[in-house]
Symmetry: D3
Amino acid sequence: MILRIDRVQTEMPPPSTPDPAGAAVVQELLGGKFGELSTFMNYTFQSFNFRQRQGARPFFDLIANIAAEEFGHIELVSTAINTMLTGTGEKGALPEPKDLLNRQQIIAGGSATMLQDSNGNAWTGDYVTSTGDLLEDLTHNFFLETGARNNKLKVYEMCDHPAARALTGYLLVRGGVHQIAYARAVENLTGADLMKMFPSPRIPTEKIPESQPHIEKGEHKKLYRFSPSDYLELAAVFNGPHPETGEDLEVVDQAPEGFPPFDLPAQEGVFAPDYAPEEIAEIARKLRQKAGLSDEPTGVVANDGKGVVDKVKDAVS
Amino acid sequence: MILRIDRVQTEMPPPSTPDPAGAAVVQELLGGKFGELSTFMNYTFQSFNFRQRQGARPFFDLIANIAAEEFGHIELVSTAINTMLTGTGEKGALPEPKDLLNRQQIIAGGSATMLQDSNGNAWTGDYVTSTGDLLEDLTHNFFLETGARNNKLKVYEMCDHPAARALTGYLLVRGGVHQIAYARAVENLTGADLMKMFPSPRIPTEKIPESQPHIEKGEHKKLYRFSPSDYLELAAVFNGPHPETGEDLEVVDQAPEGFPPFDLPAQEGVFAPDYAPEEIAEIARKLRQKAGLSDEPTGVVANDGKGVVDKVKDAVS
Amino acid sequence: MILRIDRVQTEMPPPSTPDPAGAAVVQELLGGKFGELSTFMNYTFQSFNFRQRQGARPFFDLIANIAAEEFGHIELVSTAINTMLTGTGEKGALPEPKDLLNRQQIIAGGSATMLQDSNGNAWTGDYVTSTGDLLEDLTHNFFLETGARNNKLKVYEMCDHPAARALTGYLLVRGGVHQIAYARAVENLTGADLMKMFPSPRIPTEKIPESQPHIEKGEHKKLYRFSPSDYLELAAVFNGPHPETGEDLEVVDQAPEGFPPFDLPAQEGVFAPDYAPEEIAEIARKLRQKAGLSDEPTGVVANDGKGVVDKVKDAVS
Amino acid sequence: MILRIDRVQTEMPPPSTPDPAGAAVVQELLGGKFGELSTFMNYTFQSFNFRQRQGARPFFDLIANIAAEEFGHIELVSTAINTMLTGTGEKGALPEPKDLLNRQQIIAGGSATMLQDSNGNAWTGDYVTSTGDLLEDLTHNFFLETGARNNKLKVYEMCDHPAARALTGYLLVRGGVHQIAYARAVENLTGADLMKMFPSPRIPTEKIPESQPHIEKGEHKKLYRFSPSDYLELAAVFNGPHPETGEDLEVVDQAPEGFPPFDLPAQEGVFAPDYAPEEIAEIARKLRQKAGLSDEPTGVVANDGKGVVDKVKDAVS
Amino acid sequence: MILRIDRVQTEMPPPSTPDPAGAAVVQELLGGKFGELSTFMNYTFQSFNFRQRQGARPFFDLIANIAAEEFGHIELVSTAINTMLTGTGEKGALPEPKDLLNRQQIIAGGSATMLQDSNGNAWTGDYVTSTGDLLEDLTHNFFLETGARNNKLKVYEMCDHPAARALTGYLLVRGGVHQIAYARAVENLTGADLMKMFPSPRIPTEKIPESQPHIEKGEHKKLYRFSPSDYLELAAVFNGPHPETGEDLEVVDQAPEGFPPFDLPAQEGVFAPDYAPEEIAEIARKLRQKAGLSDEPTGVVANDGKGVVDKVKDAVS
Amino acid sequence: MILRIDRVQTEMPPPSTPDPAGAAVVQELLGGKFGELSTFMNYTFQSFNFRQRQGARPFFDLIANIAAEEFGHIELVSTAINTMLTGTGEKGALPEPKDLLNRQQIIAGGSATMLQDSNGNAWTGDYVTSTGDLLEDLTHNFFLETGARNNKLKVYEMCDHPAARALTGYLLVRGGVHQIAYARAVENLTGADLMKMFPSPRIPTEKIPESQPHIEKGEHKKLYRFSPSDYLELAAVFNGPHPETGEDLEVVDQAPEGFPPFDLPAQEGVFAPDYAPEEIAEIARKLRQKAGLSDEPTGVVANDGKGVVDKVKDAVS
């Protein structure tokens, strides 16, 4: 079971210049073989399928808990893509076909994220490996994170849109923690010192400017516990020195606080959420009143009530 | 972001007679076009992709919150399949090929759930529809839940394994709530009275014996809020009379408590979690000690410390 | 069984400036999840799979008959794409790779339609839902037409090539009729008033200039009977007022007359129909003579014998 | 455009003993790479994509016309599968999982045809080859029909259900005509004498008992013209001696008369068309009355009004 | 470039009792995600795509050379499957549908291997990972071999047909060498001691009776050089002690001799190679004579000229 | 079994101006339905699955031997793509998203070949047809080569990069030989004179400037034997006059000599083979020394020791 919190794990920039080509490339980090949907689904199903979870509790806790963080990552990648696509669904101003690497982001998705990779191919359950063999699954996960890190580094280089940079700067740090976590789990299970394989790819994360603020906050050595009550044995496997900095790896006994999401503006040209979004807002207001709820929306968003919406609107027009 | 809780939404029976043929059929409810992975992923990405979420807050809250419940459903279907497969991975006693409708549950999955449907085809991101158009997405979701209910009813009939029956008995009730929720959302948005389309398929859930205990507890009319802090506007759309019983629909302001999961026994013949699982347990114990954690596993499971494990072991041998 | 008539359902413009980027986008209306191949195949197989067709005759007739019209739609979308691609297969002048969103239209298709969507992914039988449950299938069909209308509106906006506009202008009107037809079928079966959900997406078709001539001819309220002898009970479900105009829905007791297709010019550079098409023509002439047929081709085409061919040739050169 | 006629091309037996295993095998003839959906779609799109159709009219007419006949073949295969599955969706008596080679025929399809092959994989648009190069497409079509004949012969041997035998007995004869037609087209275009390649596979159709009645009626040498007005130049390519019997190939200037389809009984257990099909019938009756149509269904079916329905019901119970 | 030698890498048993269910399971080792087609294609394309091959020559040589051995493995798996299917394509005696886990082995393949996994899903190019990053590719390859070993062990347990046992007994030994080779390559590149991860899965290969004869011949510690002239630097990475036995790893400077393949008997019922195979043989004889070649076939097969053919024929009848 | 030789079948130009758009188009010749991976895999598996190989030896030898040549073709296409992509993975200078038709060549492949077609869809085992029926498989292969020739001609026209032209100029000649070989095999088996169907498509290869040097060397009429010891009966089927020139077809009793491959330069920006490739080179040198091998790399490459590397480096910078 999960509880959902309407916040994103890192602060993301507001929409600015639309970048549909970049948004097509960032899809690799969502729906690619090494994308976040793969990491989320792999760890989630490995945790569902785990046998003898009591007897292997520290390992179960590790996989199940990282799965929970990965949900936040598919949310973040989607946020970045949707931010980059804001402005591509304006009324009467849809993009030219020739400017669209991924046509379905507009036609099928409503200027939004698809469950596809950067070539526009759908994510598939085939990308999940859940063999039940603990050592094999951990080895797989270490490799999967290595592949994910490779792709993040390239997407970082290829896309200079602020949302893409904020995304990859953050994910490189957090994915790096998971890469270490699985390597340490293998080490703790077998004695093989996989720490010597870091960094892989062989460029240190600290060279990425957008990663540095997160490293300064120690995000590169912390594993958060994403549960009010469970997954208490993380420290049994996530421990020892960080392979690059030598600092001690740390388990943080709660989830990070996160940041309120942006309320992305309507894109009437793709009917998101409608051709006449103000009518939806009016209906929503009446329904809220009828239900005895507050007059104004209760949700907290980054651009709430402070004129940010207008600035965003300006930015994309 | 999510927090994960290591409990399942309904009480599931312990492993008993292995049923690999049934377990292959239940896959439809996991990875089929109308399976729970489809409902989870559809609502999750619709919530990520939602535009003007403040202006359409009650609808956003509905979709985002049901997505959270659906995570529990993919967990439950996996639990049922894994329970039905317990006993198919015993050392030196793998099933005969001819008895396996889905060979990969054993070979690839380790006597466990695959991200596939009942014909063994992988789930694909193509099964997600997230257009951004609120009315269209809600219409889709109502239809998706209708298809899901159809499939649950058939799987219920085809599979008499206790785990399959417990699963479908529960999911029929909870999926029915989601079917109503989306129909009500359409009604509240447009005025069209979709309540007249219930039940669809046209067999009342209350006829299913395994659903009755849940109906008696009122589970057929409650929408739980799966968040410590967010999704406060559910009542603005989830309201009015239940289409079949006429009772008032209710929003429950917290998640259900859930039940501890079973610690499914090792299946050494498929190396889950190892060919020598007791060695894993010994390593885990030492790691826990070294980290200064408790000597015994901290996790709470249904068969913990009460001899249930042995009974389960007996049941599958 | 079918009889085939070599005419297209609406008048299409001759080839003009080639538009391979637009032609790639229009593929969504052919091979996308909500494309015309999906509507054609869904209704066709639902009619094949229909049980108790006598007892549910009006509904069977509706689905089977709309299936027949949809054949004309896959023909029309292909016609538009092929028209837009005329000029991309000229001898010695194939397009630059960088100008091609869909490379296979040229390489695999011979400057022609592929069974793919706008991202170049193949149509799949997974897109067909044929559950046998009448209410569920009708609900699905209503939703499918809604999704189709969404995509047509966006493709209309994105593509200004005359063939794309003629296509979408027409399909929006005819698809709108099918959307109403299935909604009415649900209403007549259950009493739920789905008419309140129109238009969906919430932009009236009459705002589309290219749709207006068809609306003026009443095409938005007519259901044609595409059979010399069967499907006589359409009026039992297709009746009542049009949801937007209030006019009475009408069943027309025969198929529309249609228009002769264009004889699209050869594209020697992609060997369609040959590197030396005049040789094919000469062989054809001789075969016709040998068989005692007319000297000249018997087929009727839009550009037959009136110098139009040359004008087309000019247009694309 | 097409006109649809509610008849099937050959007489099919009524439902008898259900044969879900056989029905799974017959799927190869529907959705396999060489199945009828492939032949239908290949020729249909080749005709849509045809360039210089006037200049190559006899060849265009051949392909376009055979496409029309193929629609009747996907209808026939579906009819056979649905007939074989009648009795697998009875209320309270769904088949055991272990007896189902294709679980989705029951769960997704409602005891009906899927767009899949015999391994349960979905048909895909990748199976269509439409290059525009006339000689290449004709060569392809000859090869496709050869593969189709191979599969029909094997399915004939593997499935002894009367519906499978009636189907394959008929399709072998008609597919054989198409195989000859395309070979003759290649011959007439190039002079290569492909007639020497017959029969391929090298077993004469006349050895198949269920094919003999059709051969006796001359169905093995006739090409029907499936159009009220078009495709008049078939004889320019379909001519000369039959490669096996030496008889003259013939063009028949109209479609065959066909046979009324069976009204397949409801399968309440899979909700086809409903859990309470008599209610649907009652609603249909009222709708017919309200529309001023006849009291009784107007459609003509094989088992109409002569007690056959009851016999069928008996057969499957 | 390659030279092909018409021998198989290990001695395989002749056809005996047909085992189509087992043959469907063995497909996992051919077309599964971790099957031999995956290993062959991964290493082949990694070698094609290798950059700076001079500068990283020992690693290039390792990957390129193992790719060559893997060709022999896809050949062996196919040989096993075809052996197990011998007897399923007899004239007038095709298997019952209910006995076929993979129908297409008979219908599409001619009682032969498909490019599919054990669930009948096609192998896909998505299974290839070729990132260009040497460490990442080597890590991947080590993991891939681990997954392959897992699957071989399970297929060994599930299938007791002599061909399946001979196959898996041999592949476990040779795949084990590749698993070590890639682990050593990682070690030699980074210093991480992956040897501690062996065996993975944690069951020693020497426990498999059918592997023991190969281990006795030292096949578990030898890397053969499959080239007349190239890949001379294998010893720079394939060296050190065997992780389980401590024996020195060895590079053998030539390919193994191999064994002549069986001449599998015709299966007339599936037209392989024909419905009347003796006619093919007669044509072949004449063509040989006309070309001035020997009267008898020149190829060397295991069952040539010693009455073995007849014994095989007996075995399958 | 195979032996691998580290040479390519024709001389390829060094890297020059990067051409990622062209490289995306050339993918069709690798992973398209009619690409070289299809020809390689079709013939390879047909040879594995061949029954009665002694009785049909000349045909077996033909298919098995051409399979061996096709390995060289997938190597050549990859070489061309990788050459065209050299320069797209430079440190700090990855291409703009908008310039990439195939994003995964950079992100997933490391500026290298993917197992995909020109639309970026993965190659699939479905593209293999191996029916066991000799005549059918030969017919298929003739058709497959025809489709391959069509695609090569178009890619030739669309891509003017020297590597693409060298590739297609060569493949057109060699593929033409295979097209003839299979046509002759059909002729020799049945008597049908398929030679009349050449050239298909109907443009003679000798018109292609880049093909002419190969034709001058007689490469259009020679079938090489790619084996040290086997496939001795090729001449029994590959004989008679060339269909276009009338020259005698020839069997050459050994493989062509080939050319050393280029050592493609590192692309540090995509970590191929590393972010710091010189470190890899240093490690390799030490490993070689430790193993007692030569100090310098032993492999022979086109740009070895003669300053060519530097020129290549210049060309791509």
